[in-house]
């Protein structure tokens, strides 16, 4: 709207996020929009996704689709037919990029392993596998339904079937020592990984862990210092293995980064469909934040009634600037300053930038502002100064 020529999102591209809201069981730490359902009518879900894609396509005509991401929940529980229909429809209504990335999150249980080929046939070319830990006791503490053996089998099959794979681990778990993590991560790095998501365990409100934490019944969590030590070990080992962090919690061999997630962090446009899915969509020069009803039932019914329960809010450019900064500083590469200034219609807080650069937490180079290796682990503190 304000700026001429190129719309802001074009810096980062356009992607589709599909949320599958069901899991076989709810994990005690998880605050994602995931539900356990006794029965799922896959045909109805398929139809609903397809209808939503068509509706959004009308509002975003002619876009080049860089990525599709099936997230959850546990999308590996989807009917491959549904995955197929989503991909087919998306290809029909938008122009897929030649190198389009199509990712599906998978849990490493036997049920899902058996479906990997069907997902691949449907067009999925990347799998992100929720291994979470390489230790059976730890997996039990996390309430997971798989063990390490199963995870390894899933990993092997995934690598046979899909061109690209990624593996998720949760660390800074209860009772986890630095030595144990060093050992565990080293083993993960010998598995021939090219992309790793390494998340420090976060205790979220409204989860089983959150409730226990509040009453002091979640022992053995690391202190800030121990968490920081684990972070340092993570960076050290990943750099040595050639997978430096390209984002706070994501590590990849150069070129193996998740293109989908880069759309988020570079603050591109994405259509989000499915319960609780968020989107950022430029329409007629307005940037909309969209969020769908989180209840699976309500969402499905609303789509079927052709009154999709999706809230849309127009974002003020300065709010967009804030989001750009918040997402972009997560990346090692940082944020384009001129893009920020164009949205914000003002430069970044000069005094805060000076202080943080002096302290060695922020770096400005080549027209970009980025958190340094020292700044990234305290990014929230930097953001509180900068926002």
């Amino acid at each position: 709207m304000k700026h001429s020529g190129v719309e802001d999102w074009q810096d980062a591209g356009f992607a589709l996020y599909v949320h599958w809201p069901f899991c076989a069981a709810k994990c005690p730490y998880c605050d994602f929009n995931s539900h356990v359902a006794r029965q799922i009518d896959h045909d109805r879900w398929r139809a609903a996704y397809v209808s939503e894609i068509r509706r959004w396509a009308e509002r975003t005509p002619g876009r080049v689709l860089r990525s599709i991401f099936f997230g959850g929940g546990t999308p590996s529980l989807m009917d491959p037919e549904t995955v197929n229909a989503v991909i087919e429809t998306a290809f029909d209504v938008w122009t897929p990029a030649n190198d389009i990335e199509i990712t599906l999150e998978a849990n490493p249980t036997s049920v899902e392993i058996g479906k990997f080929r069907a997902f691949s046939d449907a067009g999925v070319n990347r799998v992100s596998l929720g291994v979470q830990a390489l230790d059976d006791d730890a997996l039990r503490l996390l309430g997971r339904m798989h063990d390490v053996d199963q995870a390894m089998r899933a990993w092997d099959v995934a690598n046979e079937v899909f061109a690209r794979t990624s593996l998720d681990l949760i660390y800074a778990r209860q009772f986890q020592t630095a030595e144990q993590w060093r050992d565990e991560l080293s083993r993960a790095l010998t598995l021939g990984v090219s992309h790793l998501s390494l998340y420090q365990l976060t205790i979220e409100d409204g989860t089983a862990f959150g409730d226990r934490y509040k009453i002091g019944k979640l022992p053995g969590l690391p202190s800030e210092d121990r968490g920081a030590d684990l972070w340092d070990i993570t960076q050290e080992l990943c750099i040595k293995a050639g997978l430096p962090a390209y984002e706070v919690s994501n590590h990849a061999k150069p070129g193996a980064e998740s293109r989908h997630n880069l759309v988020y962090w570079n603050y591109g446009d994405y259509v989000g469909i499915g319960p609780g899915a968020h989107g950022r969509v430029n329409e007629n020069g307005q940037r909309l934040a969209t969020v769908a009803a989180s209840s699976p039932h309500a969402w499905l019914a609303s789509v079927e009634a052709e009154k999709p329960a999706v809230e849309e809010t127009a974002l003020h450019p300065s709010d967009q600037a804030g989001e750009l900064l918040m997402m972009g500083l997560r990346l090692s590469d940082g944020v384009d300053l001129s893009r920020y200034e164009r949205l914000n219609e003002a430069p970044l807080r000069v005094e805060a930038v000076r202080q943080l650069t002096d302290l060695g937490f922020l770096r400005i180079a080549n027209g970009k502002v980025a958190a340094t290796d020292a700044g990234r682990p305290i990014l929230n503190s930097l953001l509180r100064e900068l926002l």
């Binding site: 800030e224 968490g227 709010d319 989001e323 918040m326 682990p377 305290i378 990014l379 929230n380 926002l387």
Partner: protein, 640 residues
């Protein structure tokens, strides 16, 4: 609430036998007694008995008072509620009496005559020792109530000595004999051993069931002396207490010594010289009942468009404007705050509300002083003076509760006397005001004489605590398996969480009381706290030099836990003058990042960061360091 008709033991009905009817009537009075007669204008001295009740907390003073009021039909049964004389809610909740209160009871004695019994109920707490002493001077006798299952406690002692000082006749009363653990014979011995009072005629009662109450009433008449006084002499009355009433303005409680006070009189307060008209004259039963005049020996209240309680002084002498006495009653002392602390609003916008609230409370409390104070740490607030720690707590609670304020209270401190090199003597109320030491010759601090009674198994811990607090042992005696220790202690050490420590080392079994004794020189220093090399005024304190290091270390350690990490490391130091005596370093923040942040999280996480940022604005800024208010509160609550 006919509490006395239920749960009566066989012993209590036996005790009631001699009385007509032998049981309680439906309205709680005793059947067969004449209803209170019409009140005569003035009462003959020999028909008056004035008394107070001396007791350790929870030994049953309020219950006994209720029972006396109830059984004489002074208050209609439907108006009866527990703890009648404890007026304010806060008192009922805490079970303490703060203001003196009085009640006039008419009692038809066995000799066939009706007596006027005036009970003055006193606070009993050490903070109000002066007020208690004045109340004691207004009566001629005391009931010494001792819990028959407990024995004499420290507060019993302190108050009974006040009664003895006032020349009282004392009637020992053994309460709670309904309890299985009651041991009246042992407690009688205990009274004789510890207080040195003949307890052979002690009256066994249960204030709870009502047993023995008639004996108490009779003993008041037969064993306590009638007041003396000359009704033809010029008016001489003692101001016992005063309080603010939203309808009547200031209400003044008096005891007439000589002469007569009448409605419409012009009277003079001898200390202030102020003259007022007596608009209303009444007695308390305990609600006000107008009376045309009060003569010698009588206790009552008057009002006379006095604006604030400040204008009245407990212990002052009241006389008539014309032809008054020129000899005031002895023993008057101006109210003297001994403990000071800063009160600051948590939200700086509440400053005006705090000022208004303090002014309002002061209307009703002359002993509570205030002075505006500015602190770099805490902003605008007040340095307030109190009679003691309890007084401080009560006022602070009332400000928070009745005026809905959130307050930060700084560490309580005492008044130090600075003897300057030029000979001047200055009172230091606030450690932050400590002048440069080169101008100070020496410093004196208030000392107290503390009496602690404790089961002997905890004696060692109590002695250690007192020694640690720079105490000097004055006496140690035993009564049964309880030890009584008397210590000379610095008040400054006592206002600093001494009660809490005492309670915890004795599991709550110790009792404690004290009197201020004198000012004495000691090697006192001002300890400042520096955070990131900036002094934080609200955290400075006066300490003994020998204790400075350990206090300083404890404070630094505590602050290290209380101040959140910053992006840089922060030295926290305790210093005396320019010399650092303790130091801790708060490490720089090492981890503060959201692990997962995908498309859907942007809105929520940004809001969270913005909220946290707004929260930071509420912290106090010291140079580059932000200290949350909660850190001040917690740091000042330090227990070492």
């Amino acid at each position: 609430m006919p509490r006395c008709t239920t749960g009566r033991s066989t012993r209590s009905s036996e005790a009631l036998k001699p009385l007509p009817g032998g049981a309680f009537g439906p309205n709680g009075t005793i059947d067969g007694w004449p209803k209170p007669a019409h009140m005569p204008a003035m009462t003959e001295l020999d028909r008056i008995r004035n008394f107070s009740i001396v007791a350790h907390i929870d030994h049953g003073k309020s219950t006994l008072a209720d029972r006396l009021i109830q059984m004489t039909g002074t208050v209609a049964e439907r108006d009866m509620k527990a703890q009648l004389l404890d007026a304010m809610d806060i008192e009922r909740e805490r079970g303490i009496t703060i203001k003196a209160n009085s009640v006039r009871i008419e009692y038809p004695a066995k000799d066939g005559k009706t007596y006027i019994l005036n009970l003055i109920d006193t606070p009993g707490h050490v903070d109000f020792a002066y007020e208690v002493s004045r109340s004691m001077r207004a009566v001629e006798g005391s009931l010494l109530v001792v819990d028959a299952s407990q024995g004499v406690e420290a507060q019993t002692l302190a108050n009974v000595y006040q009664a003895i000082d006032a020349g009282h006749e004392i009637v020992p009363v053994l309460n709670k004999i309904d309890l299985p653990a009651a041991d009246p014979e042992r407690v009688k011995e205990n009274i004789e051993d510890v207080i040195g009072l003949d307890a052979s005629d002690a009256i066994p009662i249960s204030a709870k069931s009502g047993m023995g109450i008639p004996d108490v009433l009779e003993a008041i008449v037969t064993r306590l002396p009638a007041p003396k006084g000359d009704r033809d002499a010029p008016l001489k009355a003692m101001l016992v207490d005063s309080w603010y009433d939203s309808y009547l303005g200031v209400v003044v409680m008096i005891r007439v010594m000589d002469g007569v006070i009448r409605k419409g009189d012009r009277i003079k307060m001898m200390q202030t010289g102020a003259v007022y008209g007596v608009d209303k004259l009444a007695v308390l039963k305990p609600q006000m009942v107008d009376i045309p005049e009060l003569g010698p020996g009588e206790i009552g209240i008057w009002t006379g468009s006095i604006k604030q309680v400040r204008d009245t002084r407990v212990g002052d002498t009241i006389t008539t404007e014309k032809k008054g006495t020129d000899k005031p009653l002895p023993g008057f002392k101006p109210a003297q705050p001994v403990v000071f602390c800063g009160l600051f609003p948590v939200d700086a916008n509440d400053f005006d509300d705090l000022r208004d609230a303090i002014e309002k409370l002061q209307l009703n409390d002359a002993s509570f002083s205030s002075e505006m104070e500015t602190s770099a740490a805490l902003g605008f607030g007040f340095r307030c003076g109190f009679l003691g720690l309890l007084h401080l707590e009560v006022i602070r609670d009332r400000l928070e509760r009745e005026y809905d304020l959130d307050l930060i209270t700084t560490a309580p401190s005492v008044v130090f006397k600075l003897h300057m090199k030029d000979g001047e003597v200055r009172d230091l109320h606030n450690p932050a005001d400590m002048p440069d030491l080169t101008y100070v010759d020496h410093i004196e601090e208030p000392r107290i004489k503390a009496t602690i009674m404790v089961p002997d198994e905890y004696l060692g811990d109590v002695l250690k605590l007192c020694q640690d607090r720079r105490g000097i042992q004055l006496d140690l005696t035993y009564a049964g398996n309880r030890a009584m220790v008397v210590y000379d202690l610095p008040l400054a050490e006592v206002v600093f969480d001494f009660y809490d420590r005492l309670k915890s080392v004795t599991k709550g079994y110790a009792s404690f009381d004290y009197q201020i004794s004198e000012y004495r020189e000691d090697t006192l220093v001002k300890m400042s706290i520096l955070v990131n090399d900036e002094p934080v005024d609200a955290l400075s304190m006066m300490v003994h030099r020998d204790r400075a290091e350990s206090r300083g270390r404890a404070m630094c350690e505590k602050l290290k836990d209380l101040i959140p990490r910053h992006m840089f490391k922060i030295p926290i130091q305790a210093a005396i003058g320019g010399r650092v005596i303790a130091r801790e370093t708060l490490s720089a923040m090492r981890k503060d990042v959201t692990a997962k942040c995908y498309g859907g999280d942007a809105t929520r996480k940004k809001k969270l960061l913005e909220k946290q940022k707004a929260g930071k604005k509420k912290m106090r800024q010291f140079g580059k360091v932000e200290i949350p208010q909660s850190a001040f509160i917690a740091a000042l609550k330090m227990d070492d």
